[in-house]
Symmetry: C2
Subunit: 203 residues, 2 copies
């Protein structure tokens, strides 16, 4: 089996950051990586607002959940990953129902960002805990633009800066379901109904 | 500016496939790459069904849109990327509204799949054009599991196998919005309202 790409294998959702700024030319490579993500019809619905200056970072920080505020303030760069659904498509099913594509496309772009950051030896930690309206207000984002995630980016820092329970998680062994619960060949397998959240239950 | 990771820069949504099968050990690396994607609370909502056998591939092929049926039948491997929303979370906003996370998480996993495939010199082309119910039926997927995308995977093939208009697209120059329309620093910029689909309009 060939090795998994290091940019994927080395990614961890770390929370300890060095205060050193991320240089502009390094940021540029991150944005180019996001730009290269595919989208149906090349609609390119994803946009980024990178909060680097003190006022913007403080405003965006306050939009984060309490849990994320325990550690994300140390990141020199907080990036709001956005998408405009009007720039994207809804894919039709044969019965007339539709599937929104912007969240999937945004996720692919976030995957690119995380891989590129990891390749550059940065930590990039995407957060789900934030208030969408407060993020818009903090960064002047229009109402019709969705906030998909806020990513904390920076060089890895000192574990000693973290509270003990977060410190323990920083280098804890990675946990994933066995591959046979993830993938099946040719037909869905009941092992795939096992949940990582409640491994004894099938949902 | 450091180079963008080749696994991201070399990815193209190609449509010409060599008929050669993707070896099992190569497939395994693709699944490991998908497994490594992050998810909130490590919920791991993503599942894959890889259609490789003749019956499964034909059934899944028929679930694709007419446009995709012009070329995707040549792919030796068609992978349905799925997610169970019950394995994932809805993130709360302060006003009580919520944001679904499974589509974002699925997109990140797809990003990993595409990057890993590109690194292995495979084509991996994610498709939005399919009928969700027909994909479920083709592969025995439960009703509560969503189909996010179907990815055509294989080694690159001969452009001569494609119809002329698809052949022209295969190696056409990549088009993306300028970086200043994608990213802004500290505050949303009106240039970000420009749409790739209708560049003269702001939406």
């Amino acid at each position: 089996m060939p090795d998994v790409l290091p940019a994927l294998a080395n990614r961890r959702a770390r929370r300890a950051f060095d205060p050193r700024a991320v240089p502009v030319e390094i940021q540029r490579t991150l944005w180019e990586a996001v730009s290269l993500a595919p989208s149906h019809g090349n609609g390119q619905p994803v946009r980024l607002v990178a909060a680097e200056g003190t006022v913007a970072r403080e405003a965006l920080f306050k939009a984060l959940s309490e849990g994320n505020r325990q550690w994300a303030g140390a990141a020199p760069l907080l990036v709001a990953v956005l998408a405009n659904p009007q720039h994207d498509f809804e894919a039709p099913n044969r019965d007339g129902s539709t599937r929104e594509l912007w969240p999937l496309h945004t996720g692919i772009a976030v995957g690119n960002l995380l891989a590129q950051a990891t390749d550059l030896e940065l930590v990039a930690h995407p957060m789900a805990g934030f208030d969408e309206a407060a993020v818009r207000e903090a960064l002047g984002i229009p109402q019709n633009v969705r906030v998909a995630t806020v990513v904390a980016i920076g060089y890895p820092g000192d574990l000693a800066d973290l509270v003990p329970d977060l410190r323990a998680r920083e280098d804890a062994p990675r946990k994933r379901l066995p591959i046979e619960n993830l993938v099946s060949i040719d037909r869905w397998d009941e092992r795939q109904a096992v949940s990582a959240r409640s491994p004894k239950e099938k949902k």
